[in-house]
Amino acid sequence: MATYSLPPKKEQSSFKKFKKIFILLAVIALYVWTFLGIDIDWTRAVERAASNFHRVIPKLFSPDWAAAGEVSQKILETIFIAFAGSFMAAILAIPLGFLAAKNMSRGKLLSAIGKWILSAIRAFPDIILAILFVVAVGPNAFAGVLAIAIGSTGMLGKLYSEVVESIDMQVVEAMEANGANKVQALFYGVLPQIIPEFLSYAIYRFEIDIRASSILGIVGAGGIGTMIIFAANNRNWNEMGMILLAIIIVVTIIDFISARIRRKIV
């Protein structure tokens, strides 16, 4: 057997080693502190789970088929809310994405403003937006659509801006060297490079929005969530089983379709 000489050890200053150890200790300390801080009463948690387990879980597994009609109607509404919301977001996010992209404007100011707007939007959880819109437009599906639209715009705008920043700018330079104006360079050089990714992200976000919109009804913004909160309050676990079954089926189907479409376009 041939003997190989081992590669030299990576040179590392003692300061770097110290830094690594320090970071490791800091992270461990953070975890310990968090778990002590939230004060979990393990014995009580186990007791409650044990006493409720036989009352709730078996019922979840025997769904109330009589509710199937109403559930399917509500789940359809949930899908519509998610679709309308993510569609609005997919369009609203385009100008914001371009605004936030560093390579689309000369100065840094515009891109900074765009990024700031997008972070500000992302700071709101969907459920908070839903509460705000229920107050603004009343407790109906439209509130849900708006909540989804705004919530998704934050994320999509951010992803769009990253797609725009990753394009090959030399192609755009080549267009401009041919005498194309800015609008032509946008349509011929930029759009073909970004459209597939934009679509893919929009579909992915629709997938997330299906899950998000199933919860919005809890605050009265339409969709299946309204039924969830009623079933939970009435301890109607059979109906809850039916609702969960419907959500699982729909989410799985949408995930499957979305994955297939996304694989096709990129």
Binding site: D168, Q170, V171, E173, A174, M175, E176, A177, N178, G179, A180, N181, V183, Q184, F187, Y188, G189, P192, Q193, P196
Partner: protein
């Protein structure tokens, strides 16, 4: 006619890209710029279509100083100057025809181009250009399905479709293998002769420069250190331009294979 008069270019970071350049390029010439990388060849040809802007002197194209051009003047200038790049710079996801039609953008209104409403003669011209570089059978293939040499031919077709008066080629064969390199250079030379398009090519391979150029301009450290017809050039000239002895990797080779 392209005239560099006392052209200098200092980049914002202080590097001098061009120093005191005085060169006149006549219509119909096939000029090859040689020099080591960083010598200023790219800066020289990119000044001509103002992808970079010289900071001193004057640059006349067809007797007009182009250094003050902005906006629509600049686009008009660029419409008559075609450019070929080392990385082809095609839109990879668009098909060949669409890439070639992009050469017409400077001649086409914004509205027409956005909605793909090209004039019939433009589409015909695009197809004709593809035929001239022998790649017309790939018309509806996506650009990223083609090999490097094929992509470079598409980019030549794009420039042809532009109907330019000048063609600039910035290291057009640097990413290609020897036989393909010769093929691309042969097309450029043929177009130069047939259409009488003034062509300026950056190369760093000595043998290719000797084979295709009418005139060679040598650059070193931002200055023109040689300018003359190819008949006056010997290995010694290149040693002067490069400031060192000639090595194996200064040659592309493969002239006999193509």
């Amino acid at each position: 006619m392209i005239e560099f008069k006392d052209i200098g270019l200092v980049y914002p970071n202080g590097t001098e890209g061009l120093k005191n350049i005085n060169v006149t390029i006549n219509d119909g010439e096939f000029v090859v710029m040689v020099g080591l990388s960083g010598a200023g060849k790219s800066t020289f040809i990119r000044s001509i279509n103002r992808l970079v802007t010289p900071t001193s002197g004057s640059l006349l194209i067809d007797d007009e100083d182009i250094l003050s051009y902005r906006g629509s003047d600049l686009r008009k200038l660029r419409t008559k100057i075609g450019m070929i790049f080392q990385n082809y710079n095609l839109v990879k996801r668009s098909n060949v025809l669409k890439n070639v039609l992009a050469g017409r953008l400077g001649h086409t209104g914004t509205f027409r181009s956005i909605f793909n409403l090209y004039k019939k003669e433009d589409v015909g011209l695009a197809y004709e250009s593809l035929k001239r570089v022998n790649i017309d059978e790939k018309l509806y293939n996506r650009a990223d399905e083609l090999s490097g040499g094929q992509q470079q031919r598409v980019s030549i077709a794009r420039v042809l479709t532009q109907k330019p008066k000048y063609i600039l080629a910035d290291e057009p064969v640097a990413s290609l293998d020897p036989p393909t390199s010769h093929q691309v250079m042969t097309y450029l030379k043929k177009i130069n002769k047939e259409d009488n398009i003034t062509t300026i090519v950056n190369l760093h391979f000595i043998d290719m420069a000797m084979e295709y150029a009418d005139r060679i301009i040598g650059m070193r450290a931002g200055e023109v250190v040689f300018d003359g017809p190819v008949s006056e050039v010997s290995e010694k000239t290149f040693e002067e331009i490069y400031g060192r002895t000639i090595r194996e990797d200064d040659l592309r080779g493969g002239a006999n294979e193509s």
